[in-house]
Amino acid sequence: MKRYIVKRICISAATLLAILLILFLMLELMPGSPFNDEKLTQSQVALLNAKYGLDKPVFIRFLNYVKNMLSGDFGVSYTISKNTSITTLLATRLPISIRIGGQAVLLGTVVGLVLGLIAALKHNTIFDTMTTVISVLGVSLPSYVFALGLSYTLGYQFKWFPLLYQQKEAVKSSVLPTISLAMFTVATVARFTRTEMLEVLGSDYMLLAESKGLPGWRLILIHGLRNALIPIVTVLAPLVVSLMTGSLVVEKIFSIPGIGSLLVTAIQSNDYNVIVTLAFIYSAMYIGIMLAVDILYGLIDPRIRLAKEDDYEQS
């Protein structure tokens, strides 16, 4: 197990380093220099270079860059809000994005679990069909389609929820974005729970538990669902990806002041530094979550750990 965890951590660190290297090289290879004012003399440029450490060898500069990025010093924004440090820009935006993402995960998982459970218990009935339809739709439709549909019907026609995000009504205006983001999670989790649950319900240990006379809910929740839940960890990876990409469009549609809409604005206004920073943050979050998922998975189910260790030793 230790060996497995160490390997996972090494790969994650390598990935993070690779991303930093790519970002650094992109900054290096961009044409022009920060001091291309014609009034500056050669010696002044040299002084400025020395001040910002740009006269050092590439390798030292890369190390400095890594140090800055990891310690949260991302530099300043160029165009979105001139000369504001990006850390300040992020300070208000990151919590909003994380809150809405978290709400979506929570809502999606709970609804998905319930739907999948009902579908498995009432196999081959109308509930089952409905769950299948919902899960196919949820996987097939991009989250912005849900976002547009919801904001047109519930937001515009019925006026139940604000069309655009308002800081004063943070809870009410995060309802629609949360639902639109959660749809993919609902679909994936429901589909997975249904399949796993059907398998578990047909297993011998469920028959044993039932013949011991366990009450219905205990049988289903403690003996059934718990075993069905283990493999659900595997769908977390696509979920994280969908939440990240989804957050971009959903935040744009509802004008939520989060990091997704910041990235869209930065791309559209070519704010290079902000894009690079957000690319780094997204990657770091993704790598962190993947690492956690892999380790968690290994801890939950020893069979997987052994299989993966074998896999690593073979390869």
Binding site: I11, S12, A14, T15, L16, A18, I19, I22, L23, M26, V136, L137, V139, S140, L141, P142, Y144, V145, L148, Y152, Y156, L163, T195, L198, V241, M244, T245, L248, V249, K252, I253, L263, V264, I267, Q268, Y272, I275, A279, Y282, S283, Y286, I287, M290, Q314, S315
Partner: protein, 353 residues
């Protein structure tokens, strides 16, 4: 024995005492022709209603993508500013009161139904004009643009399959076949690349290159093959120790021959399924990129950029956004159903996974 013969001799047989056995009775011993693998695949594919429906929908959409932009005489980039924001109007349906070119607008005085094609008070000059899906804010025909956009989505689907089939497959086959240090290096590289979110790769590419179809293709080529590589590698690992490979190797087959002539045909089914599953993903990525403004440059249109443009006025003119959304949804849905059906048909064991 002898008594039998004597007894038998006393009988007299009539012509109808014995009749020929019909086929049904001797059918017990009959050997039926073996159902070939592909026949089996096709028949179980056709039995799956969802998959068949998906297939028909895809054929229809491919047809519309080829023919659609030439059907009604408008071009995708012709702007008629006078005809901007017209609601959909279809020749026959207009008599039934739907899609007759009228739209309900919310104004300060309440809801008003406007029909800009036909006006009893004055001639509008548009009495004989029909825009089936309406026009956009620049007076371009939404119908033509929608199916021009469909072309781009289908092109993306093709790219996804090609990347999977050419690059991902070869990468996985080679990595799995040679094993050892080669495999280790190749898989670690893939793992690191996989650790970078697609979103980030695409965004960074867009910074360096200019947005456009070529950039999107490149982005898909960089990220699209990793899943396929895994499946191909896993399948090779399963097969490469089997006897028929050993037999072929003993007969002097080289690595290249073993990989592509012996192993590949045996795992092709799984690989096709995998590549089908990557299609919706790729189409989705393109639509998403277009939505955040990194799509094909105007006046070209993709479904994503159409949705993105129409989004700006979708509370006043919702019809502009409806047709691209529906087409996109149908494409995604049918490719998903087709992939599901193919998986079940190729490999019944994988069902319900």
């Amino acid at each position: 024995m002898s008594s039998h013969n004597r007894e038998a001799a006393t009988f007299e047989f009539k012509p109808d005492d014995f009749i020929m056995a019909d086929n049904r009775r001797i059918g017990i011993d009959r050997v039926y022709p073996a159902q070939s693998y592909w026949k089996d695949v096709i028949s179980s594919f056709l039995k799956n209603k969802g998959a068949a429906a998906g297939f028909i929908a895809i054929v229809f959409i491919v047809f519309m993508a080829i023919a659609g932009p030439y059907i009604n005489g408008y071009t995708y980039n012709e702007q008629i500013i006078a005809n901007q924001n017209l609601a959909p109007r279809v020749p026959v349906l207009e008599n039934w009161g739907i899609m007759d070119g009228s739209e309900t607008m919310n104004t300060s005085t309440g809801k008003v139904t406007v029909n800009r094609y036909v006006d009893p008070q004055k001639t509008t000059g548009l009495e004989n004009t029909y825009y089936w899906f309406g026009t956009d804010v620049l007076g371009r025909d939404v119908f033509t643009r929608t199916f021009m956009g469909t072309r781009i989505s289908l092109y993306i689907a093709l790219v996804a399959v090609l990347v999977d089939m050419c690059f991902g497959m070869s990468y996985g086959l080679i990595s799995g076949y040679f094993g050892g240090a080669v495999d280790n290096a190749m898989q670690r590289f893939a793992e690191i690349l996989n650790g970078i979110p697609t979103l980030v790769i695409v965004t960074l590419l867009m910074l360096v290159l200019k947005p456009g179809l070529a950039t999107i293709t490149l982005a898909l080529a960089i990220t699209g093959w990793i899943g396929m590589n895994r499946v191909a590698r896993a399948q090779v690992l399963k097969l490469k120790e089997q006897e028929f490979i050993l037999a072929s190797r003993t007969l002097g087959a080289g690595d290249f021959y073993l990989i592509f002539k012996e192993i590949l045909p045996n795992i092709f089914g799984q690989l096709i399924i995998m590549s089908m599953f990557s299609i919706p993903n790729a189409i989705f990525t393109e639509a998403f990129l277009a939505f955040i403004g990194l799509g094909v440059p105007a006046p070209l249109a993709s479904l994503g950029s159409l949705i993105s443009d129409a989004f700006k006025s979708f509370t006043t003119h919702p019809y502009m956004i409806i047709s691209p959304v529906i087409v996109l949804a149908v494409i995604m849905l049918s490719f998903n159903m087709l992939a599901d059906g193919l998986r079940d048909a190729f490999d019944p064991k994988m069902k319900e996974m």
